[in-house]
Symmetry: C2
Subunit: 416 residues, 2 copies
């Protein structure tokens, strides 16, 4: 299939973009690309490719932007129940304690998720993945972490494997058993840390290949934050995971600076995520590493907070920056990477070009898939968006809607 007549073909060619290099879209005007099966096999101008492949079935982009599918590198897209009542209580001025007393907070999602069957988890999660796909996300990381005990965490992974097999949205998997201290360990958080290291992670290491023999091991992630896991507990869990061969991620500095970002850089994690209260030292440590800094602008927006990830400082230091939705039931129920881009422009002062690179090639790096997706290059997967606009800067400029007209996943087009 030959996609031609793109006003701007954003290739994002050349690999992840570090520091000041962020925002190189590598645009081909009046561009075209040739897809064979699941792969891109040629890229050039419409004139070049139509001359070289005159008999290919054509898909006319109609003078619109063609670009790689978004890679959303941080979501909690699988859960049961919802927290609309909690949202309303917050607006009515209720305190966090009152909300907890009324059964709200993350543990309400844990309760609902623990009592959900595999089938129910799949049914509740599917429309969210469909909404992400319709908004142009072709690969999304999804975390467990509303089980906080092994049976439920594995059930969440099982549901995610089933949804990934169903497609078309392709998933990257993350085990977040260390999302919160489970209520039954409230007085003994170290004991839960030990359980994670000594039982849960080894169990996962055995279980995974039996369920997903063709997929690489999932990421292991820790919420390193006041009220969740200390830096020491986080180190213990991540070092154990690394020793077992798991790739790593961390939630760091959403509210307090505990040093999680530097820990991620030290341990060679694929990404450190949130990074709002991150210190200049942590930013320097990240920038000196290959760990991707993943900003989650929907989260402060969702909470009506004013502090966002200091993206310009991360870029000035030479860091690798990506953005994600953080889709979750508590702080940011948002499936749309285009909205994360609109926020990144306004509150992190990225240009549309920088935000687009942060949402494609750099976010692919954050989930270890920069060799397969995140750019349009010969040999890579044909994960392609056709927008309804002729200028890429409409991403960011416009907000609250969906500019994607067609999503092509592994070479197959899906109208939106």
């Amino acid at each position: 299939m030959l996609i031609h007549s793109a006003s701007q073909l954003l290739t994002l060619a050349g690999g992840p973009q570090r520091g000041a290099a962020l925002g190189a879209l590598n645009i081909i005007e009046d561009g075209a690309l040739l897809i064979n099966g699941e792969k891109i096999i040629a890229i050039g101008t419409s004139a070049e490719l139509r001359a070289a492949y005159p008999n290919e079935p054509a898909l006319d982009a109609g003078g619109c932007v063609v670009m790689p599918g978004f890679v959303d590198p941080h979501t909690h897209a699988i859960w049961a129940g919802d927290r609309a009542a909690e949202f309303e209580m917050r607006l009515q001025g209720k305190s966090y304690l009152e909300i907890m007393a009324a059964g709200g907070g993350i543990l309400s999602t844990v309760r609902a998720t623990r009592t959900s069957s595999l089938e129910k988890l799949i049914t509740q999660t599917r429309p969210r993945l469909q909404a992400m796909f319709a908004c142009g996300t072709t690969t999304a990381e999804v975390k467990t972490g509303y089980g906080l005990r092994m049976a439920t965490e594995l059930r969440m992974l099982q549901a995610l494997l089933a949804l990934n097999a169903e497609g078309p949205l392709e998933l990257a998997f993350t085990f977040l058993g260390a999302h919160a201290i489970p209520p039954e360990y409230n007085d003994n958080p170290d004991e839960y840390t030990d359980l994670l290291c000594e039982t849960m992670l080894p169990t996962l290491k055995e279980w995974w290949p039996s369920q997903a023999p063709d997929l690489p091991l999932p990421f292991v992630d820790v919420f390193c934050e006041t009220g969740a896991f200390t830096l020491q507990q986080s180190r213990k869990i991540l070092e154990k995971a690394r020793a077992l061969g798991f790739p790593l991620k961390i939630h760091a500095d959403e509210f307090d600076n505990l040093g999680g970002a530097s820990l991620a850089a030290e341990l060679g994690a694929h990404s450190a995520d949130h990074l709002v209260a991150t210190s200049p030292q942590d930013i320097a440590a990240l920038a000196a590493s290959d760990t991707v800094a993943v900003a989650l602008p929907c989260t402060p927006f969702g909470l009506a907070e004013t502090h966002y990830t200091p993206a310009r400082q991360i870029l000035d230091a030479g860091g690798l920056l990506a953005i994600a939705t953080d889709l979750n039931p508590g702080t940011a129920w948002c499936e749309n990477m285009q909205f994360a881009i609109a926020l990144a422009c306004r509150y992190m002062k990225l240009t549309p070009a920088q935000a687009i690179a942060a949402a494609t090639i750099n976010s692919a790096a954050a989930v270890g898939r920069a060799a397969q997706v995140g750019s349009l290059e010969v040999g890579k997967q044909a994960d392609v968006l056709i927008l309804s606009v002729s200028d890429y800067r409409h991403l960011g400029y416009r907000f609250g809607g969906n500019l994607v007209r067609t999503v092509i996943k592994k070479g197959r087009p899906y109208p939106v």
Copy 2:
């Protein structure tokens, strides 16, 4: 047609909601409504209406929320060109003067609109109206104001009349010849004010019935703001418009407090819009009147500003509050009233119920249509939304997407 099995049928019955009364959704659980032609002819529980009308063709709401269509009471949805380049320059730290020197700002839209044919204006505006409708807006006010001379202003109205006739989105019309001082009157703004009063408004008064014999006169609106029209000029224009029989609106206090809100109340305007820098005195004057205070939260959001309309103070004073998108090419290209609701919850501290009432029955009042639309009541127009969720609080709680599954306009369903 009988729509039944609504988990929550939000009727919003009882007319516009003032002050502390805002947010009365008047919900019927397991609700149903009966439509005949363009009108609602019965409302009740599913059991009641199915028993009373056993042979009606049924539309099963499937346990989802059913509510009135959104009324967007303030948009500049008709224009030519775009300002994506200006958005990018702003993010790169360029000053307002640099942007103006590069051909940006409102006058760039005026230039593009003045040179657009009727056909081109219609073609460029249609997809925006379609996007609004797909997001659940069934009635929208649209302003002229990118012509700033009579021929173009009338061409904009002609385009809007054609788009209104095309449907399905129903329009309310506003003449905003006083949107900005046209460049040719830069040194002589009073002369443009005189032109508006002595020539343009009387011309409009004659022209309108020849083009739209069945429609009421359009609103006349003035941008009362530093750099646009002074309070004195605004008064002159609005008084002349009132004398000619036009209903009134005003843009007031977006950046500076010039007293426009009190002027609106004094003159009996249908609405005063923006109201960010509004004083307690102005709020009191508004609250003592029937002028609706229309908040435009997408505008400070679009500009990444931190000040929003002081909604709680307006409600405490007993005012009538509505919300709108302010859809326009400079500060807020957003077609989605659901996003205005999400912002109103977070930045104006409305509850979802209050924001929904502000986006339906109260916004209908802001465009003088509260007797026809904005609530689901017997005898009113069948402008109805079926959402994809079972709890109305998902409006506000979730953001960046579209929760509308079906839009019913004048009794006719359109799947989204």
